[in-house]
Symmetry: C2
Subunit: 299 residues, 2 copies
């Protein structure tokens, strides 16, 4: 009997793991398809993040965690490294793909960051798709929320220390970089909390001259350390490689402050870094030749 | 008659100018009083910003500009350079002193940035004072709003290119740095726009090892350039002095991108920099001996 239970658990874990890896592969394919057709890095990261937002497994878009009020409040951000333009959105409810709203803010307004009801009004004025509560309902997320509901506790979405915020970085054939990030934030969050995802320089940054970075982890630590821009500054002001800059920021600066999480980053030469100080990070990469890598834990 | 009109205008300008300089001096006095009594840099910048928020002349607290809805939505941020902790608030209405709310967020929550109604709920739970619309009404601001009301135009609060966002930086006798910033944002702003003031690394940053910085200007440009943290990075990664770092960021990086505005900054040695690329910036400084400087235009 115990034997059978263990076998059942193992099977469940295997199927769970397979679903996540599939989700990652689909996102990589969505971005790669665009790059293969000489599309831009900006379009590629958008497509990859839309794919992850539409997948119920990750904490963004459809799979977003519950707030203390039983709602879903999402943040997203996109940055175009070729022009240093950016768009971001915080605390929006009902918007199907927050990353599309972030991009619309970048391209159709003079602003960078819009929040709350005002941002939803702008999304409506742009005819972006909305979904009702049913679309965002997810039994697993609901269960996570029930565990802490009514308490003044927030839960990071890191079942077994893997954060659920989604992000993508890319370099295209013209050498342009872009980064995009999207999240549902923390389970049971309240008081209109905004994390690092929506904040340029903290959770997201891109500049052709240095790198494109997208972060996932305990947002408050990423904000105080201005993580994404810190990686860029170590490259441009200290001359470090992308790998060295990411290692210092994630394994030293962040770790010393108690900040758990990681990031994905790419530079103009196509060097890819997937750095994290947590037990695992859902991650993947695909190179110019279409060679894919997806993983969850350390390898 | 023309002679008399010109005389009247000059007298008005003189009295206007005198009021602003008085407002600046009062803020300096409020901060200095705390430092003189061996208070902390954090308490000093808070006191200076509270004084400016209570003065109807500046675009923060009581003197905040009108939004497109005829409301006042305020942002504020504080950072403690000794611990790298920070608190910030965005899009709050009715809160008398947003900077006190930012500090409460830093000290009483695990979060950095709260926004909108949620942030107001938190302010109420902390018994922070609220004021009604009358308190925030100001004929001059109302007139500014009437000029653009109904149009999809926002106005930077820079009558004659002097921005109205308020901020303060300080170093205390223990060598600790702090920065605080507060603003009403842009006249006729809508869609829940958040500017650089509320964003760590963009409008506000403090680290004992480098500097404390508070910015004022066209927020979107300050966000994309991660201005405050860029000054700190030029010091820590390239070894520049505070003055040289501020000059590069404000006169080169920002100016080249079209970003107008300036910043106040201080380092641990007590070097003070008041750098701006606009025609003027309301500004002031006071040294350990109590020597005050206040100014508006270039000198």
């Amino acid at each position: 009997m115990a034997e059978r239970e263990r076998y059942g658990e193992k099977r469940l874990l295997r199927s769970w793991r397979k679903s996540y890896l599939n989700g990652l592969e689909e996102a990589l394919d969505a971005g790669y398809k665009i790059l293969q057709q000489s599309g831009t890095a900006l379009d590629a990261v958008e497509a990859a993040v839309v794919s992850l937002e539409n997948c119920p497994l990750f904490n963004a878009g459809k799979g977003s965690v519950f707030t203390a009020d039983g709602k879903h409040e999402m943040d997203a951000c996109v940055m175009d490294g070729s022009r240093l333009t950016a768009g971001a959105v915080a605390n929006v409810t009902g918007v199907k793909n927050p990353i599309l709203l972030a991009r619309r803010i970048m391209e159709k307004t003079e602003h960078v960051l819009l929040a709350g009801k005002g941002a939803e009004d702008f999304a409506r004025s742009q005819n972006l798709p909305f979904e009702n509560e049913d679309y965002f309902y997810n039994a697993f997320r609901y269960e996570q929320w029930q565990q802490v509901k009514g308490e003044a506790t927030t839960l990071l979405d890191h079942s077994e220390k893997k954060f659920g915020t989604v992000g993508a970085v890319a370099v295209d054939s013209a050498g342009n970089l872009a980064a995009a990030t999207s999240t549902g934030g923390m389970t049971n969050k309240r008081f209109g909390r905004i994390g690092d995802t929506a904040l340029i320089g903290c959770g997201t940054y891109a500049d052709n001259h240095t790198c494109a970075v997208s972060c996932t982890g305990h947002g408050e630590f990423f904000i105080r350390a201005v993580v994404a821009y810190d990686v860029a500054c170590l490259m441009k002001y200290r001359g470090l490689s992308l790998a060295e800059a990411c290692r210092i920021v994630v394994q030293e600066t962040l770790k010393q402050s108690g900040g758990e999480g990681g990031l994905v980053a790419v530079d103009q030469a196509g060097n890819v870094v997937l750095e994290f100080n947590s037990e695992g990070m859902y991650r993947g990469s695909i190179d110019a030749g279409g060679k894919k890598n997806v993983a969850i834990y350390m390898q």
